[in-house]
Amino acid sequence: MAATSEAVVNPAHVEKTKKAPARYWDEPQEGKDENKVGKDGEQTEETLPQKHVEKAKKRKNDEDRGDAKKFISGKPDPFPGPAHISKDRMQKFKRRDKTKKIPRQHYKLKDMMARSDEVSEMAQKQAARIDLLLPEDAGFLEGDEDEDTCTISQEDISDAVDITSASKYFDLKLSQFGPYRLDYSRTGRHLLLGGRRGHIACIDWQTKQLMCEINVMESINDVKWLHSEAMYAVAQKKWLYIYDSNGIELHCIRKFNDVLRMQFLPYHFLLATVSATSFLQYLDVSVGKEVAAINTKTGRLDVMCQNPQNAIVHLGHSNGTVTLWSPNQKEALVKMLCHQGAVRSVAVDKTGTYMVTSGMDKKLKVYDIRAFKPLKSYFLPAGASCLSLSQRGLLSAATGDIVQVYRDVWSTPVTKPYMAHRVQRTVWGMQFCPFEDVLGVGHGEGFTSMLIPGAGEPNFDGLDSNPYRSVKQRQEWEVKALLEKIHPELITLDPTELGQVDQATFQQKHQDRVQALGFDPLAKEKFIPRYKKKGRSSAGSIERRKRQVANEDLRETVQQSSEDKMKIEKERKEREKKEVLLSSKKSALDRFKK
């Protein structure tokens, strides 16, 4: 103890440069301290920390936090205030705009709206923050200089990646019962294969475990998983059948005949089917009832896809039109003429923004289906027979026996495919595996699983579709999902419509109320000037007082707009002044100016 105290007493004699350690009870000396810190480090880095401090200060001002928080050691916090959230990330989680200004008389409503705005902004910020913690990054493939990624073969990729990923590139040789249709379950763990000549196989494709394999001894048009991997639907020659994962026939649904294509709407528990007799039918698989049967009157239907964002079914027809259907209406919601010849395939992206179609006219077209406008049109020499979109927006198109994968088909004009691969025979079915960088291709010789880096969504949501869920978790999820099964009547083009104010009904109701009451309860009260004594209620003064409050709201808006204008004008002037100041530095050529 004694030795240490001595050392403290006379440090200056021993070493000049040594300084007493900073204590929190000492008066902090911000600027000096920082300089010291800079000098202690290497000379070359001197500027760096200072820059940092400046930046930090700037942010502090932005966030409007009070005085800088200091640590107990006396050092200032280099990153005061909450961390910055990038704008596009905030935009991603934006649910609604801020409420517009509410008139002053609705003070309770104003308070409520302010509070709810606050809460939603907090939720948005939190979600944006948590986005940073997501564990996985998306895959990618980059070629070397002047190497096209489309020339890189699957073998090269599987050699370059780790063993588990390499095992996801495989071929199943099933030449006997092909060609094959396929379907991945919603979690991406299970694969369902249906051969044209009656062969059905369920595979846990990552572990390569066969769940069941049967032959229905009939031709098969399409196969589809239902809500979980316990059941699947098979469209056979005549009827629609439902099997369980052990291959036991559960139902034969005779109401659904000659089904060619199927789509499953997972949140509605609806199986939508189209048939050779031009019927579009919806089956509620949770109760086993037919919800709607619509005669589309457009002939044989074999091109179908669903919009995952609003559960609208898109059908492609032989006259080049694509029609949009909901179970609530007997007519098509929208008819779009997309191609000169017949439509061969349709696909809609995950966000429900873009639709990609291919037709007999060998064109591949991209549409914005919110505005129903064509965005891009490409010409494929062979024409695409099958289209599929991945979760991250990669488009795979099959032309004969070649599978091509394109990137960014809607934003930039594409000239070259991202990847390409040739399978043994004509492609019959194709689908990207959810949450994996894998594309499954069913063809005449069996099934090929390809590696497409960057195709799958890297981070799944455990409560929605969890590839690693246990049986217990699946059961629990099933119960929850059934409880919040969306009623088929809620299928509309705009799924957010339910959360908006029904203005028309409100106006109607208000009108009825006015009729019943005999007066408008929401109308503004007419201003009646108070009676004042001492002759101040003469007709003239009453008129004057009336004029003072007349058109008050109008005046307010006018005032506001004029203030805004003034502000803009002022800003403009200041900017000009600055420019003048900047340009006022005399150059050598200024003397020639007149």
């Binding site: 990054d137 990618f140 990646v161 996801k168 995950k350 981070n459 690693y468 217990k472 339910l498 005999g518």
Partner: protein, 445 residues
Amino acid sequence: MKVKVLSRNPDDYVRETKLDIQRVPRNYDPSLHPFEVSREYTRALNATKLERVFAKPFLASLDGHRDGVNCLAKHTTNLSTLFSGSCDGEVKVWNLTKRECVRTLQAHEGFVRGMVVRYCGTSFFTVGDDKTIKQWKIEAPAYGEEEEPLNTILGKTVFTGLDHHRKEGVFATCGQQVDVWDEQRSSPIRSFTWGVDSFSAVRFNPVETELLASCASDRSIVLYDMREPAPLKKVIMTMRSNTVCWNPMEAYYFTCSNEDYNLYTYDMRYLDKPITVHMDHVSAVLDLDYSPTGKEFVSASFDKTIRIFPKDGGHSREVYHTKRMQHVICIKWSADNKYILSGSDEMNIRLWKANAAEKLGVLAPRERQAANYSQKLKEKYQHHPQIKRIANHRHLPKIIYHQTREQRVMKEARRKKERNVRKHSRPGTVPVVSEKEKHVVTVVK
């Protein structure tokens, strides 16, 4: 060539041992969660349906009185004790957790008109038809001791109501006049009259503790300040008010239950127009009590129902009735905001839940979270027609159902007539009188 393919390690997503809880990685990206609104709506619909399924408000009936229950009193410091006085002068003390009577005393001859527990919770006062005010100990007399009041005051006239000051040893009675008594004295320290022959209820303001409100038989509500010799002001209405109750959280507001089937909430400062008219009962409203949060109040009516109103809502959010319950005479909202107690004509005291679908007992954290979430959902989607229909539906006894409809028809007819009169008379001669203004005759200061 640079390549990266998604390759997850299952160990990061699966629990290590069976003793762990399952891992649930979340991704809140909206594009992974389609149909946000419709799914939330479905959840809200389910929550609303479940609420109606679990709405079982009736908990217990306390029987033992040999005549109609005329007044109830809450213990000020003990949640499980309840006092009730009946029309034969008997007072019973109840233990609500055991749901049994712990003590019975013959307090008065004739009705027990009013009862109140002293703020400290050591004694309680009763007034009766025998013109006496009696003070009793809370504890039951020891073995061998006689049941005797601590104090008895013999008044000149019949007392009809009683209330105690919140902080001091002062109480007020009403009868032919409103008297303020000091506990130590046998004569009132102050007597208020305002040309009225009788009062039916008197209440101390729980916040501004020196203020009093009383209901008089001349259809008026009179306000007093205990420190002043004369009453403050009064409002005269079209019909007589039976009882009055102050809002325990907002000192200015009080609500009165009226003979004209309605309840009126007034701001003490502006008596010329009630803040809210609460309609729904189909017979005279006899009693009301505020919840301790001041957000809601419960009313008892001659139409054999109990209704719960939000403090600023014109219509009730809940109605309770049973086949056996007759005219409800007195009502109390328990101090923990969870229960409602009603005393009725047919000699029973009934215990109800204040929130019909609430689960009683300790909630697990997840249970509580789920309840809060569904509550929020119900709030968010309450205006959707389907949800509104389910949430608002209540089964009513046939008589009340028909009476409600009849009232509605009568009101509509009156309004129609007024509208026609207005249409056919000179503009401005028949002004629109709002429902609030209709029931106030005048304000006297």
